[in-house]
């Protein structure tokens, strides 16, 4: 392919006029690419650098560390995460770490639960024919997918009351259950797509050999479907990690997650830019890492079923 393209270009580019046209289109393409990369990355750059600024750097609009301004640990010190305060006790840091832990537990717990029950349902819907009264596979699938439409605000109040009665308010279990509900349709969608690409002959052979349906599923299909499950899992973690609405309403002290903590800080007027920037940086760091190293799983998860 590559050599073809080069050959083609050589044929086209034999005249200087053509060459100039080709060059200017290249410049345009790379210009647009760089512009959008700047738009995408500048807020992240801004937040990370601001966390190392002091007041005068903020008001003077200094941008480039070591050139414009001397980096300072001030923002991180207020979080208790700078080198000189890391050994000391810090209530802010304890608070932050607790929220961080809550976020991890809630998002990972919900994602595991959703991937387990979602994969089972997706496998069933992909392989067997169900009848539940007048409902067939198609209707059951639609029932799951239709949950995507439900806005959180509709469920928020009933959940608040329900959780109060069940003593689940402000607990991590309660949050995990809500988040599982939120990502389940997406997981089922991704896994349906995944299972549909696996040929059924594999399981049929196993069934003939005397495997049960569950045996065939666990031993043969599951290992093949693993990439899809990883994609569904990672996408779920990202969505749950970023969730704010339910967390703001259903948690108060014990189970509060990181986004709620960040939001409660932005609400107060006197907050310093550097500490806010440090907090934001710490809150987005795991996501940036996931984006850097697991980008292809995110893309796989997002595009499942959408392109046929």
């Amino acid at each position: 392919m590559a050599t073809d393209a080069i050959a083609l270009e050589q044929v086209r580019d034999d005249t200087p006029v053509r060459h100039a046209g080709f060059l200017s289109s290249r410049v345009l393409i790379y210009g647009a690419l760089l512009l959008w990369a700047f738009i995408s990355l500048f807020p992240i750059y801004w937040t990370v650098t601001t966390s190392f600024k002091v007041a005068v750097n903020v008001t003077q609009g200094h941008m480039v560390p070591w050139v414009d301004f001397q980096p300072d640990w001030k923002g991180w010190r207020s979080l208790g995460l700078s080198p000189d305060t890391i050994g000391e006790t810090s209530t802010v840091r304890d608070e932050f770490l607790k929220r961080f832990e809550n976020s991890i537990l809630a998002s990972v717990g919900a994602s595991i639960l959703a991937v387990v029950i979602g994969s089972l349902a997706a496998y069933g819907l992909s392989r067997f024919q169900y009848r539940f009264g007048p409902w067939r596979n198609k209707d059951i699938s639609f029932f799951f997918l239709s949950q995507l439409i439900l806005p959180p605000v509709v469920l928020a109040m009933p959940f608040l009351v329900l959780y109060k009665e069940l003593a689940l308010l402000d607990t991590k279990i309660g949050l995990i259950l809500v988040y599982t509900l939120m990502v389940l349709p997406i997981v089922i969608w991704i896994m349906r797509d995944q299972f549909d690409t696996i040929p059924q002959e594999l399981e049929q052979a196993a069934l003939v050999d005397g495997c049960t349906v569950w045996g065939a599923f666990l031993r043969i299909v599951l290992p093949i479907a693993l990439p899809g499950m990883v994609a569904a899992f990672i996408l779920s973690v990202v969505l749950c990690w970023n969730e704010y609405f339910f967390a703001a309403l259903l948690t108060s002290t014990d189970a509060k997650t990181l986004p709620v903590m960040v939001a409660s800080q932005t609400g107060s007027q006197g907050i310093n830019w550097w500490s806010m920037a440090a907090l934001s940086t710490a809150a987005i760091a795991p996501l940036v890492l996931i984006g850097l190293f697991l980008e292809r799983y995110i893309v796989k998860g997002l595009t499942a079923g959408a392109v046929k």
Binding site: L33, W36, A37, S40, F42, P43, W46, T47, V58, V116, G118, L120, A121, G124, L125, R127, Y130, N137, K138, F143, F144, L148, P151, V154, L155, M157, P158, F159, L160, V161, L162, E165, L166, A167, V178, L181, L184, R192, D196, Q200, E203, L207, V213, W241, N242, Y244, A248, L249, M276, A283, I284, L287, V288, G291, E295, I298, T303, A306, V307, K308
Partner: protein, 374 residues
């Protein structure tokens, strides 16, 4: 939404029916009946206790939850015992069904009940049925209708997002170096939490004194770059932030669509002497229609839930100009503790959404069919 397409191929796995003995069937039925009785007993006791009919009961409804879990397990085991192979298959679907039904159906109906009460958490009276008062209040609530109108603007902004995303997808699909870098960079905004984005972009970059966006605007000749004080500017600022987060989502879908297109088509168009402009409008764009429609519909569904950014950046200000329905209801709950009225608004909004999305799906599938058959 490809709800139906994977089903075109009939599921083929044959039933290996093994005979299930009568005693096993009886055991299964007994188990389910027993579990149902336990669940019913606990519910009855708790209802009686909650209504002060009896003095003995549980502290909260948690035992009912455990009883429901127990009942679900018994139902699963019972299915296998009674129906053998068929039961084992049902077992794949049961957990998800039971979970979703328990988590959605009950809250939705309970929400309908709340919606017709005058329940306010800050008053001591407790809830009372107040008939259609909430509906009347809703019809006269200009802030709610204003928020609904804003949703129309926000949904329309999806088309702009789509246009930008299509451009980016085309760029990424071109013959470029460092494609991996650009892909990761372009996807990054989608990964960030909207709450963090609210601060990073809304409250610091667009801050009118020191924010770099304000500084840039001053250099470009806008004397007082206040992004959140006049209605339309504030609305556009929210749209810009929302687009910044969500354009990568549309872009990823479109890029996957572009990569699935057969290369020969654009090559053939080139050989036939079509300019890139023509080849895009006459080859690429029509072929991309199904993916585009899927992406836009999904994006609209997510756009209808927009709340986090508005809640955290403007809280609906100035004067409700940036309010989404969700952020408005959030404030009704949060600041006024008006549970009954807020729930009525939410249920009303849900009805509108369901009608809107149903029409959208119908219209989209008809439109695609007509477009591809001509």
């Amino acid at each position: 939404m490809h709800v139906s397409s994977p089903l075109a191929a009939d599921p083929q796995i044959e039933v290996v029916s093994r005979e299930v003995s009568d005693s096993r069937k009886a055991l299964g039925r007994g188990l389910i009946i027993l579990a149902s009785l336990v669940l019913a007993a606990i519910l009855v006791v708790q209802v009686l206790y909650a209504t002060d009919a009896i003095a003995v009961g549980f502290e909260n409804w948690r035992p009912a939850l455990y009883a429901f879990l127990l009942w679900s397990v018994a139902l699963g085991v019972g299915q296998v015992l009674i129906r053998g192979e068929h039961g084992q298959r049902a077992l794949f679907l049961l957990p998800a069904i039971l979970f979703t039904v328990a988590m959605v159906i009950f809250p939705t109906f309970f929400g309908l009940y709340i919606a017709f009460t005058d329940w306010n958490l800050s008053s001591f009276k407790g809830r009372q049925f107040n008939g259609l008062d909430n509906v009347m209040g809703l019809l006269q609530d200009s802030y709610f209708w204003n928020a609904l109108l804003n949703m129309v603007y926000y949904v329309l902004s999806v088309l702009v997002q789509y246009a930008i995303a299509f451009g980016l997808a085309l760029l990424l699909n071109a013959e470029i170096r460092a494609r991996k870098f650009f892909r990761v960079a372009f996807l990054m905004p989608f990964m960030l939490s909207p709450v963090a984005v609210s601060w990073m972009v809304g409250k610091s970059i667009m801050e009118y004194r020191y924010g770099p966006a304000a500084t840039l605007a001053r250099h470009l000749g806008w004397d007082s770059p206040a992004f959140f004080t006049t209605p339309w500017v504030a609305r556009f600022s929210i749209m810009a932030m929302d687009s910044w987060v969500w354009i990568p989502f549309i872009m990823v879908l479109l890029l996957a669509g572009l990569q699935a297109l057969p290369k020969e088509l654009s090559e053939a168009a080139k050989v036939d002497g079509a300019t890139p402009w023509q080849s895009f409008w006459e080859v690429t764009f029509p072929l991309m229609l199904p993916v585009s429609v899927t992406a836009i519909i999904l994006r609209i569904i997510f756009e209808l839930k927009l709340a986090d950014i508005v809640i955290n950046v403007t809280a609906g200000n100035p004067g409700g100009a940036t309010d989404t329905v969700s952020s408005f209801i959030f404030r009704v709950y949060r600041d006024r503790s008006n549970v009954g009225y807020g729930t009525m608004l939410a249920e009303f909004y849900l009805v509108i959404i369901i009608i809107f999305v149903t029409l959208l799906l119908k219209w989209a599938s008809r439109w695609i069919r007509r477009y591809t058959w001509q």
